[in-house]
């Protein structure tokens, strides 16, 4: 797993990357009540706002971690946004994306670095 400073996790599956938010982020957000996912097939650039996530407290955006194409979104979250609190680093992934150059992940934090980052 790799992690961004925006509290996303990235897991490589073949030539795709699966993206979700960390347990720490889910905990900070509180109960998630609404999720808006990007369109499958959309081309996105790093730091584009691709997912809207609203908790009982506030609305926040999830940014695209890298340039690429959205290949699949986790529609189940739209009906059951609470899954993000139940299993943020497993079933509650947000989207999969295809990226040109997987080596871009090399610069990202690993688990140990992320743990240090969140203190």
């Amino acid at each position: 797993m790799k992690y961004t400073e925006e509290h996303e996790w990235l897991r490589v599956e073949g030539d795709e990357v699966v993206v979700g938010i960390t347990a720490h982020a889910a905990e900070q957000l509180g109960d998630v009540v609404f999720i808006e996912l990007p369109d499958e097939g959309a081309t996105v650039s790093k730091d584009d706002e691709v997912v809207v996530i609203e908790s009982v407290k506030a609305a926040s955006d999830i940014l695209a971690p890298l340039d690429g194409e959205i290949t699949e979104v986790n529609e189940a979250l739209v009906d059951e946004p609470g899954k993000v609190n139940e299993d943020p680093e497993g079933d509650a992934w947000f989207f999969k994306m295809k990226i040109e150059d997987l080596s871009a992940l090399d610069d990202m934090m690993d688990e140990a670095a992320y743990k240090k980052y969140i203190g």
Binding site: D31, V33, F34, E36, E54, V56, K57, A59
Partner: protein, 374 residues
């Protein structure tokens, strides 16, 4: 958070795992380990305990109690003289322009009036009362009492274990009840839409009382997050959001809180700040009104969301003043002000969320039926 005040229950909140946030000058629990959603649902299903000690508790006293009652009527459009002993009423301080300076609860406790005001307004409220009511009435802000609220369908059964007298109380009754060895001033009221009690307790006994109530299996501690979603579903106004110094009580839909005695042709017509505007609006109506708003989709419409009559209209017809997710409704709920022409229940409107016009329907309040024991 060093300049923030703490309530007598601060240590208990921390021990219960609360997440503390600044609110109205106090460090208050926004949620405990259950989280907002479960706390909200627990309160609707069983009973929730809230620390509302940040609110202002004020005693108004005069040698002849009627003097204090008549004096308070100079500041609020409520019938104070007609309120029976052992009864409480909802009210609001108005200003010369007919807006609302704060909302409050006031109780006739025999030889004095007991007034509870919002934390953020309490200094201004006390100053207002001192300026207008003294010296014929003494105005005392109590620093030696905490305030707890026990809310939910199981509240009566829980509190009756401490004193059976609370079961005899009806909605908006007040009484002095010895609970856990302390002299408590109890009212059957609250701000969640549920049956329940508000308990004023001496500071020295507050934490013990809270712990004793929390020992009951049916009681969970509830934070400000769930307090907000509970009152929103109940259609109750939050001062500074749904009502403020520019909104009149008529626009806010609070005319039920202005008794006959203070209205045109009443026994003590007018005589409160802004009476001209308020009595005129009661007779002629208003151009904007507070309404319930039910977003058709799942996206919450939060405070500040602009409301439009159509998907393409350029000028808004209203604004959301409170909005979020209603756990009991299991969907988004909101309230706000709209032009009267668009205020009928069932009117289809659009709220602009992140640049998109999303459908929302004017809905009747409350979103969840009240559980009061009348």
């Amino acid at each position: 958070m060093s300049d923030l005040k703490r309530t007598p229950l601060y240590d208990l909140h921390v021990a219960l795992g609360a997440k503390m946030v600044p609110f109205a000058g106090y460090e208050m629990p926004v949620q405990y380990s259950l989280g907002v959603m479960k706390e909200h649902l627990h309160c609707r299903e069983a009973a929730g305990l809230f620390d509302v000690s940040h609110m202002g508790q004020v005693i108004l006293r005069s040698e002849n109690p009627d003097v204090a009652k008549a004096a308070l009527e100079r500041l609020i459009p409520q019938d104070v003289l007609g309120l029976g002993e052992g009864r409480q009423r909802y009210g609001f301080f108005t200003n010369a322009a007919g807006g609302i300076e704060d909302d409050l609860m006031f109780a006739n406790r025999g030889d004095h009036l007991f007034v509870v005001v919002n934390a953020a307004c309490k200094e201004a409220d006390v100053a207002r009362m001192r300026e207008d009511l003294e010296p014929e009435v003494t105005v005392k802000l109590l620093e030696n009492r905490a305030l707890l609220a026990l809310q939910g369908p199981k509240a009566e059964a829980v509190l009756a274990e401490h004193h059976p007298m609370v079961s005899e109380m009806r909605f908006m009754d007040v009484a002095t009840v010895p609970i856990a060895g302390a002299e408590c001033w109890v009212s059957r009221s609250g701000y969640t839409g549920e049956d329940g009690y508000e308990i004023s307790v001496p500071v020295a006994a507050a934490a013990d009382l809270a712990r004793a109530l929390l020992e009951h299996d049916d009681v969970e501690a509830i934070g400000l997050g769930a307090r907000d979603s509970l009152r929103l579903e109940a259609g109750l106004c939050l001062y500074g959001h749904d009502i403020d110094d520019t909104t009149s009580p008529v626009e806010a839909g609070l005319t039920w809180g202005i008794q006959k005695a203070r209205r045109s042709s009443g026994a003590r017509e007018g005589g409160f700040p802004g009476a001209d505007r308020i009595l005129s609006e009661l007779a002629k109506g208003v151009s904007r009104q507070r309404v319930g708003l039910k977003p058709d989709g799942r996206a919450p419409m939060r405070e500040g969301t602009a409301l439009f009559a159509t998907e393409a209209a350029t000028d808004p017809v209203g604004t959301v003043t409170s909005g979020g997710f209603g756990p009991s409704v299991n969907g988004p709920v909101a309230m706000g002000y709209v032009e009267t022409a668009h205020s009928q229940v069932g009117t289809a409107l659009f709220g602009e969320v992140r640049g998109k016009r999303l459908p929302v329907t004017v809905a009747s309040l409350p979103f969840v039926a009240a559980g009061f024991k009348r």
